[in-house]
């Protein structure tokens, strides 16, 4: 009987550690999806996340309320992505360069504001009431093995539950409404959209701003639930993994969720296995290697958004 309990406990730990990292990736992935489906690549996701990770933390620290912190992170993300939207949609500049600029600006601005607000390059650690709360954590008795395992399986941060709703809502908007059809059409053939009276510029702007909002929240998820504190090394390549998840998930919210679960699992494994049997460096490599292997076998048959990354000139 005890062997089953052991397995049950392990399953609990696996699910818990997977769900630690999945929301961050999935929020960023959903944001990235909106932007890419409308035809704008946003490789600045990583930079926006880093900035959101800081502003979320700072917001929660000063207002003592995690939800206001999350919203602040989202809106600062919108502000940063406005830069990207202006260059890539209004000016038709190179989207990769503008995204790279965001990737440099994000951590730089975060450090600058950290220095102004906290006097050092990281934020003060958050206390429990400033963190994103964990739901149902009192329901289970964590002293017994079964209770602890059940707690690990069912009790997650609020952001995880919001995420599930978000996945459904964004699937519904993208694939079941008129607006979603227009967004997708903008990514495929903007010229045809324009002839039908759809304002391509406006739709692309909205989508890039949405991507900024969710990228900001994604960063805040990381610092406000897992690490408790903004550090320079908080967002290490998570934004890029999220971008890979979008490609792997074929630009569909449900696909992105499953891709993020896979990547979240490989991130969780790194944190979970700390017994020294396998080198830490090899484990740290794992998420990236898995991403590559997955892309190797799924890239061939992937759908390609036809106008992705291409500038759109009105009236040409």
């Amino acid at each position: 009987m005890s062997i089953f309990l052991q397995i049950f406990a392990y399953i609990g730990i696996i699910i818990y550690s997977t769900m630690l990292y999945t929301p961050t990736l999935a929020y960023a992935g959903i944001g990235c999806c909106f932007s890419e489906v409308s035809g704008v690549t946003n490789i600045g996701i990583e930079g926006i996340m880093t900035f959101g990770a800081f502003t979320g933390c700072a917001g929660a620290y000063f207002t003592k309320n995690p939800y206001i912190g999350l919203l602040i992170a989202g809106f600062t993300g919108v502000l940063l992505s406005l830069f990207h939207a202006y260059t890539s949609i209004t000016l038709n500049a190179d989207q990769t360069i503008s995204g790279t600029a965001l990737n440099l600006m994000g951590p730089g601005l975060a450090s600058l504001f950290a220095c102004i607000l906290f006097g050092k390059s990281e934020s003060e650690p958050l206390t429990v009431e400033m963190k994103v709360p964990r739901l149902f954590s009192n329901v289970f008795d964590s002293n017994t093995i079964v209770g602890n395992a059940l707690k690990n399986i069912f009790s997650h941060y609020v952001t995880t539950y919001i995420l599930l709703i978000l996945i459904f809502v964004s699937w519904f908007i993208l694939f079941r409404t008129k607006i979603g059809l227009r967004i997708r059409a903008c990514g495929e053939n903007p010229k045809a959209c324009e002839t039908l009276g759809i304002n391509v510029i406006r739709i692309r702007y909205i989508c890039v701003l949405i991507s900024g909002f969710f990228a900001g929240i994604a960063g805040a998820c990381l610092t406000m639930s897992i690490t408790n504190q903004y550090r320079l090394t908080s967002v290490v390549g998570q934004g890029f993994i999220a971008m890979a998840a979008v490609i792997f998930g074929k630009h569909k919210p449900k696909g992105i969720l499953f891709a993020c679960l896979l990547f979240g699992f490989s991130q969780g494994v790194r944190v979970m296995i700390t017994n020294g049997l396998i080198s830490v460096n090899i484990l740290s490599m794992l998420p990236y290697v898995i991403t590559l292997i997955v892309l190797m076998f799924f890239s061939g048959g992937l759908d390609v958004i036809k106008s992705l990354g291409k500038p759109y000139y009105r009236g040409k």
Partner: protein
């Protein structure tokens, strides 16, 4: 303006430019073929760790054998690393940018792994590797440095970097290969129709640009740092290369100057620590410069 305060800081600022010029050239070379080389960081790390391995394990060789050998090994290792990215792109259609970003992180942890598991770790400090052999040291003689009151790490790396910049210019502008690379970058379909093997050119370009970044890693190790750290995050040489390449408007010769400027900015950025400001503020400024570059390109295009 700290770099003009003494000859010592001035030479330091110049020495800082070496890796940035080379990663910049790496980005430029790939950009000409239409590939955005965001993976220079990883290629740089691979070049560095390959050099470290050779410079420590074969430390008994005389300098005039060891130093060229180190460079060759670094170039070959990073070249293979680059062709792996090209292979994934051509054979499995993996998106170049995503693959390079993943390879950056894999290179970083691979470097840590090699340092820790091949007996290269400095056992008394634990966060840095052992120093490279004195025979692989590229610095000028100590007495000479002292007499001229230059910085301690004055080395010939910067001259090699400038020569390589001219070489890259020559290859891109004066040879058939360079012409083919540029033609693939401008229009790969037309190039294919004209009988250029696009895949071969892409593979070649990625390998060569990885070699350039790898050489940067080798020169930085043998000239400036003498040892590698156990990395916790990326050091920014790859992103620095992108900045250098973009501010030079993708021109190899101009990249020498933008590289020198960027090196000076990075060197002066260290002075921010003295007044209690984090050095990452430099990144915000540089990010803003890159943003302006993106806008400037549009202005340039509209003038045509």
């Amino acid at each position: 303006m700290i770099i003009f305060s003494s000859l010592r800081s001035f030479t330091y600022a110049i020495m800082f430019a070496t890796p940035y010029i080379l990663t910049g050239l790496s980005v430029i070379f790939a950009y000409k073929a239409g590939i955005f080389n965001i993976g220079a960081e990883g290629q740089y790390v691979i070049g560095g760790v390959a050099t470290l391995f050779v410079a420590v394990k074969l430390g008994e060789l005389p300098p005039y054998v060891l130093i060229p050998l180190c460079m060759i090994v670094a170039v070959v290792a990073s070249g293979l690393w680059g062709s792996l990215i090209a292979f994934l792109n051509i054979k499995f259609k993996v998106d170049n940018i995503i693959a390079m970003i993943m390879f950056n992180w894999i290179a970083l942890y691979l470097s840590n792994f090699i340092i820790e598991n091949c007996g290269l770790l400095n056992t008394s400090v634990n966060t840095v590797s052992v120093n490279i052999s004195e025979n692989a040291n590229m610095c000028l003689p100590k007495q000479f440095i002292k007499d001229m009151s230059l910085c301690n790490a004055t080395n010939v790396g910067i001259i090699i970097a400038i020569l390589v910049a001219f070489l890259v210019y020559f290859i891109l502008e004066k040879t058939t290969i360079g012409y083919e690379i540029k033609s693939v970058g401008l229009n790969s379909d037309a190039s294919k129709a004209a009988g250029i093997s696009v895949n071969k050119i892409k593979c070649l370009t990625l390998s060569v640009s990885a070699m350039l970044a790898g050489l940067g890693g080798a020169l930085q190790l043998m000239g400036m740092s003498k040892r590698l750290c156990i990395f916790t995050s990326q050091e920014g040489y790859g992103f620095g290369g992108i900045v250098v390449a973009l501010t030079a408007f993708i021109n190899p010769i101009l990249s020498i100057f933008t590289g020198l400027i960027y090196g000076a900015i990075k060197y002066s950025g260290r002075a921010l620590n003295l007044i209690g400001m984090p050095t990452q503020i430099i990144d915000a400024i540089v990010g803003f410069i890159v943003y302006i570059i993106a806008i400037l390109q549009v202005v340039k295009r509209r003038k045509k």
